[in-house]
Symmetry: C2
Subunit: 212 residues, 2 copies
């Protein structure tokens, strides 16, 4: 009897703890999302916890309460960023029924995110560069890179499949190519080059049939 009671008590205690953890984690993500605003604006180097707090509805102490560390916060931001990014083209891949449809769907999303999420993208490149100096970032960054490579590979595979072909290069090379083009277009776009996005689209449109 006592056994069962303590068992039940433990179960509700556990459930409560899980609930608390979930709430805790949800808060962390809320804070991370707020932090991403400022990080995307100023970059990793110039962003301080106080700046993040001032541009948000939170005080700087909260961040210390939910994150052990500045790096902890940034890592959480990066991981959160990843989750949203990696599925961007999945719907297009799933619904496209022809090569053209896939191409145009992909390019449309590409142009849109380059336009809309430029600040998030530049933050990603910033953090990836930081990972070359700061070991604490490396695990997350390498993981995200792998996810992005897989994302590109899903597009290419589907594109090849729709033409009854096979991609001619490795996932790594394909990702390197698209990532390089994207990064370059992003920089030019941010530098005020109005043609950067169009040129990227043209380049990708030309490239796709030659690699798959």
């Amino acid at each position: 009897m006592a056994r069962q009671v303590t068992g039940a008590a433990r179960r509700v205690a556990d459930a409560a703890e899980v609930l608390r953890d979930e709430k805790f984690n949800a808060r962390r993500i809320e804070l991370a999302e707020a932090a991403l605003e400022t990080l995307g604006e100023l970059g990793f180097a110039r962003t301080s916890l106080r700046e993040i707090a001032q541009n948000s509805a939170f005080t700087h102490g909260v961040f210390h309460y939910y994150f052990s560390d500045k790096l902890d916060l940034i890592c959480c931001c990066v991981r959160h960023y990843k989750a949203k990014c990696v599925t961007r083209y999945d719907e297009v891949v799933a619904t496209a029924t022809s090569r053209d449809e896939l191409t145009e769907g992909f390019l449309a999303k590409l142009a849109a995110t380059l336009q809309t999420d430029a600040r998030m993208h530049r933050l990603w490149y910033d953090l990836r560069a930081q990972a070359m100096f700061e070991a604490a970032f490396r695990k997350d960054v390498l993981e995200i890179d792998k996810s992005l490579e897989a994302m590109i590979w899903r597009i290419a595979s589907r594109y090849a499949e729709l033409g009854s072909k096979r991609p001619v290069s490795s996932p790594a090379a394909l990702y390197a190519l698209f990532d390089g083009l994207f990064q370059s277009a992003l920089l030019k776009h941010l530098a005020g080059d109005k043609t950067a996005i169009r040129e990227l689209l043209d380049e990708v449109r030309r490239l796709l049939p030659t690699v798959c």
Copy 2:
């Protein structure tokens, strides 16, 4: 007579000024070179003028004397870096008499610089990312990017020529591909991946005949 004298005086004055300017500039480069040591070690974000000074034979005041600004110093570093980087493969391109020779010469240099100059390379990627936030860097960074693209294009053109072919993609796409691969390999290498360099070489060896 007086005319000639003042003319001569002006000439020697001008010469003196040029000399002073040259000396001034040489000193700037000396300082920039010293700064690159620390920048390559810590990255842009974590490097302060004092840190730079402490890791060098100079005091922090000298840097303020020769550079108007921290950004001015960094820009000088970047420009100096550029000059050394862009000619890395020129000798190989000039002397190779066959596709194989060019390939192996290129790959050897590639592996060597990845091994030896890893800290300089990561600084370059750091600064390129910073340029997405800091407008002051953009002009220099875009210019260097163009130079690197041209460098890759010289290699590819020569490689194609040696096989009586033509490169199948644009300079921009080719540079994006190599830059993306290099960046990825650099990150893995810095993360302790012992196979990163070898894998890059294999990938490039495989890729070269398919793009040119």
